[in-house]
């Protein structure tokens, strides 16, 4: 029972801190570009304002358009609750493993794309078409890169996988390097960052995700924005805790939890600083370079699995 409470607390932490994480990346980027940047609380203020506003709907928007934000938010939040953040042993990881985690994100994407097709504008269709095309490559790449760890850990349960990485000294394996590279590439694509998509732009011809949610306003937009912020934090945490889990708490004593929380925050800060640096330094790709990029990620992930089977199992 205690562990379930911990899990709930972690889920609330992830959902609650998500806007802050996005604001942090914005702030880092602004500083790198010699701007002052928004306050760290700006994301919360934006959300509060959107929630208070009366939503405006397109004339023939159907119930799917109105239901979608709730499904997107719920699926993303549930996915965030699955990922162990501070404690390794989380009971919810038994209810939904990594395959379910990927599928929950896919469910959110499915509804985002449907909502985009709902109103019948060209932007919506364009965004949905592009998003589903990219997802068709990034989703298997994500599954495959996580499977590298699953096969090593003989489990698809996230807690068990992190536990294996921590305790059985997987060390420096070529398969893990492939998997890490693939997952980083996928994470950038899935969270819609540069060089795949630009979260800051509303320039019609280059955007993917923003094109899909163009018709949303008020609390619907708030829910979708929030879900996106959760997704960024989720991918960051997943990357860190799967591949660099050191510091994460293996029991629920106060000291180890405090250490784990500190380690998590520190690692996040570093990762976000890297992300901001990268985004400042890179330009966005042309849209038809993205499939090549994602195809590369998929290939890397498959190479990871193959090298695991061929090089490492027999040893």
């Amino acid at each position: 029972m205690n562990l379930w409470l911990w899990n709930l607390a972690e889920a609330v932490l992830m959902v609650g801190l998500a806007p802050l994480a996005t604001a942090l990346v914005k702030l880092f980027k602004a500083r790198l570009q010699n701007r002052r940047g928004p306050s760290l609380l700006q994301s919360y203020r934006d959300l509060a304002k959107l929630f208070a506003k009366q939503p405006v709907l397109a004339e023939h928007a159907s119930w799917i358009f109105r239901l979608a934000p709730y499904v997107i938010f719920a699926a993303t939040a549930l996915a965030a609750a699955i990922v162990p953040v501070i404690l390794v042993a989380m009971p919810l990881t038994a209810a939904a493993d990594v395959i379910a985690l990927v599928a929950l994100l896919a469910l959110a994407r499915f509804f985002t794309a449907l909502a985009a097709m709902d109103v019948g504008t060209a932007f919506g269709g364009m965004g949905a078409s592009r998003e589903m095309t990219f997802a068709a490559l990034s989703e298997p790449a994500m599954l495959m890169s996580i499977f590298v760890l699953s096969i090593a850990a003989h489990s698809t349960n996230l807690s068990a996988m992190i536990d294996t990485v921590l305790n059985s000294g997987l060390g420096l394996r070529p398969s893990l390097a492939f998997a890490l590279a693939a997952l980083v590439m996928v994470a950038i694509a899935e969270t819609g960052r540069i060089p795949v998509d630009n979260p800051a732009t509303h320039l019609e011809l280059t955007m993917v995700h923003e094109a899909m949610i163009l018709e949303y306003s008020g609390r619907y937009l708030a829910l979708i924005e929030w879900a996106n912020q959760i997704k960024l934090l989720l991918f960051a945490t997943l990357l860190l805790n799967l591949f660099l889990p050191w510091g994460i708490a293996q029991d629920s004593s106060l000291v180890s939890v405090l250490i784990a929380a500190g380690a998590w925050l520190l690692k996040l800060l570093l990762l976000f600083a890297l992300l901001s640096l990268f985004e400042t330094w890179m330009a966005k790709m042309r849209i038809f370079r993205v499939p090549e990029y994602l195809g590369l990620a998929f290939l890397l992930a498959i190479l990871g699995i193959l090298s695991h089977y061929i090089l490492e199992v027999g040893v």
Binding site: P55, L57, A58, A61, S62, I64, L67, Y70, V71, A74, A94, A95, A96, A100, A103, L104, A106, L107, R109, F110, A113, L114, A116, M117, D118, V119, G120, T121, A122, G124, G125, A128, S129, M132, T133, A135, A136, L137, E139, P140, L143, M144, F147, S150, H154, S155, T156, N157, A160, L214, E215, R219, F288, P291, F298, I302, I305, Y309, I310, G314
Partner: protein, 672 residues
């Protein structure tokens, strides 16, 4: 009543439906009601028989019909029982759907051929599942093929439907011949048509492999595995929608049943080579990815669904192939997992594909077209059909908490739990097939976003779609049953798995680990708790919470402003500005252009200057790659061959008599 009597009751109900179809042709209204009611009864009896077959010991019966020296053997075991259960579930829903569907169809044409061949088709499928000797099996198999040919060519005045029917008949018979060849080998080894003797027969490795290849290609042809799938995308859309639902939902599963019966049961996996499972795995992976890639490029609703059947058969084959590999390397409980995953996906596919084909029929009736370029915005005119169709789309895209996710999850578990096998080829093949499965799943989501988005959302692309009418109550009930089952099978897999577990128990004397079935009903743990577990109910609860929040907010703070959608300031937004079906899949067409080899054409006419455009027309056509590189060469070769032996056909009568005489002599020489 025992399971066998339920099964015979199902057969006789279908037979009565056939008679009713003939006798009542003068009164179409009674004909329709009685045939549908009898088919419903047949479905319920099949359901009962299926449950009995799964739960109790096998029952046998001999009917004194058939060949003089061979009575018809019927046997109801766990394998046949499982497929009877699938048949019962979908046939029941389809029978209810047909009451409403055929009422509308009957206003346009005479339906008597449909009422005659539909029950025969059902009898054929049930008979195959019950057959216990090769003769009975083949008789019912051919009955199923021929009856479905007449159903495919039901609207025979359309040229395309006749062509589709011919191709179907050709391939069905070629497949039948191959299966017959497989039985011939088993007959030669066992000395009897009865399955018991065939089971006991020991084959030399060469003959066993030959029998496997014959059965694999024969049943693969019927199941629509790539590269033998060419008939499927033509034949399924040509049939009326209730028949398409049965063909895609059950008939291609009967081929999976035949595959299991012949290879897992009669030849027996103890005689299997390692490459058998590898071949099934390769063909499964090819079908899964190839099927969905071609489904994405179709612009006709029923063709999309037909190609997606190829994909799902591929997923089933991946499970079967994994099972065969594990059985060969002596991991019985993993083999059971692969088989159970394949069977569960068979059941799930029957439910959601049946639902989607019925939905396509409702769209066809409501908006008079299945061309996605003519549809759009149907969610406003046909809200219930849209909601049910959406459930089908989510299920087939393997998203939680619906059923498609559970079976793909089980297949992934089987692939991931592969221990180190001898031979690096297989060690590489298994993760590769897992990758293909993941790719197919993601592409399926893209495909069904396209289908639902273009057909049901946006604004109507034609006047007929703007005037679409909602399906009638019978059709809605028929669709609601599989939709409800999609959800139930997704949430309570732990209740279904112990039932399915009887099949591997009977076939390979292995079952899932005790944790799979002995655990609390909330959890799905196919191997062990620490390896992998999934609890659909928790996922469902999270989503229900979201739904309830939506409803509360919707009714309490429902005040919203409606306005025009934003269109970059362009004043008149019209339906032609929406993305079309071809536009939606354009990025994928570009990425996989080597595979699609799209042929596009831009036709333009202008007022004397290139800038004064009068009309622009863009056409793109994607042809099945295998059609050009496999089927057309075969066609050309057989034409060449027939031309070479053409002179044989221009003999006078004594020439033919001489041929007959020589043939007789040769046969006598062979026999003596």
């Amino acid at each position: 009543m025992s399971g066998m009597s339920w099964a015979l009751a199902a057969l006789s109900a279908a037979l009565t439906a056939f008679l009713a179809g003939i006798l009542l042709s003068a009164t179409p209204k009674h004909q329709r009601r009685l045939v549908c009611a009898l088919l419903l009864l047949s479905a319920l009896a099949a359901l009962a028989a299926g449950l009995a077959g799964l739960l109790s010991a096998p029952g046998e019966v001999r009917l004194p019909i058939g060949l003089p020296w061979l009575a018809m053997h019927f046997r109801l075991d766990a394998l046949g029982g499982f497929f009877l259960l699938v048949l019962g579930l979908l046939l029941g829903a389809t029978a209810l759907y047909s009451v409403g569907y055929l009422r509308q169809l009957g206003s346009q044409r005479n339906l008597t051929p449909l009422y005659i061949f539909l029950p025969l088709f059902v009898i054929g499928m049930q008979g195959v599942m019950l057959a216990d000797d090769a003769y009975t099996f083949m008789v019912f198999w051919e009955l199923m093929s021929v009856a479905s040919y007449f159903l495919v060519t039901f609207e025979h005045e359309q040229d395309g439907h006749r062509k589709a029917g011919f191709l179907y008949l050709l391939m069905a018979h070629l497949g039948g011949m191959l299966i017959l060849g497989g039985f011939a080998i088993l007959y030669a080894a066992g000395g009897s048509f009865e399955f018991d003797a065939m089971r006991a027969a020991a084959l030399t490795p060469l003959w066993a492999s030959l029998a496997f290849l014959l059965a694999m290609s024969g049943f693969g042809m019927k199941a629509g595995m790539m590269p033998l799938h060419a008939w499927l995308p033509d034949a399924h859309p040509a049939a009326p929608s209730n028949v398409s639902a049965l063909m895609s939902g059950i008939m291609i599963k009967v081929a999976i049943f035949g595959f299991l019966r012949m290879i897992w049961d009669l030849i027996g996996l103890q005689q299997a080579h390692w490459w058998w499972g590898g071949l099934v795995l390769v063909i499964g992976s090819t079908s899964a990815v190839g099927g969905i890639l071609f489904a994405l490029q179709q612009n006709e609703l029923k063709r999309v669904l037909a190609y997606s059947s190829v994909e799902n058969i591929g997923i089933i084959a991946i499970g079967l192939g994994l099972g065969m590999i594990f059985a060969h390397y002596n991991y019985p409980s993993l083999a059971a997992l692969g088989l159970v995953a394949a069977l569960y996906h068979s059941l799930n596919h029957a439910m959601f594909k049946g639902l989607l084909f019925m939905g396509a029929g409702a769209v066809m009736h409501g908006a008079h077209s299945c061309d996605m370029g003519q549809l759009g915005g149907l969610i406003r005119r046909m809200p219930r059909t849209a909601a049910l169709f959406l459930i089908g789309c989510i299920s087939i895209s393997a998203l939680p908490p619906f059923n498609g996710f559970v079976s793909e999850w089980l297949t992934f578990q089987a692939a991931l739990m592969a221990p180190q096998l001898q031979g690096t080829l297989l060690s590489a093949l298994i993760p590769f097939s897992a990758a293909m499965l993941a790719l197919a799943g993601a592409l399926a989501a893209a495909c069904f976003v396209k289908v639902f988005g273009i057909v049901f959302q946006g604004t109507p692309r034609s006047p007929a779609a703007a005037e679409a009418r909602e399906a009638n109550a019978w059709m809605q009930i028929g669709m609601a049953i599989p939709a409800a089952l999609c959800l139930l099978l997704g949430i309570f897999p732990a209740w279904m798995l112990p039932l399915i577990d009887a099949v591997p128990k009977a076939l390979i004397h292995a079952e899932l680990g005790a944790s799979a079935t002995g655990n609390a009903w909330l959890w799905l743990t196919p191997i062990a708790q620490e390896r992998a577990s999934y609890s659909p109910l928790i996922v469902l609860m999270a989503l229900l919470l979201a739904g309830c929040t939506f409803l509360v907010i919707h009714y309490r703070y429902g005040k919203k402003r409606r306005t025009e959608p934003w269109s970059c300031g362009h004043p008149h937004l019209n339906p032609r500005m929406q993305y079309t079906a071809a536009a939606f899949s354009q990025p994928l067409r570009r990425i996989f252009s080597d595979l699609y080899q799209p042929q596009d054409k831009l036709l333009r006419s202008d007022h004397g200057h290139t800038l004064l455009v009068k009309r622009l027309r863009y056409q793109v056509h994607v042809q099945d790659l295998l059609w050009r590189h496999l089927y057309l060469p075969v066609k050309r070769f057989s034409e060449w061959l027939t031309q070479r032996i053409d002179w044989l056909h221009h003999r006078p009568i004594h020439g033919y008599l001489a041929f007959t005489f020589v043939t007789l002599l040769l046969l006598l020489g062979l026999l003596l």
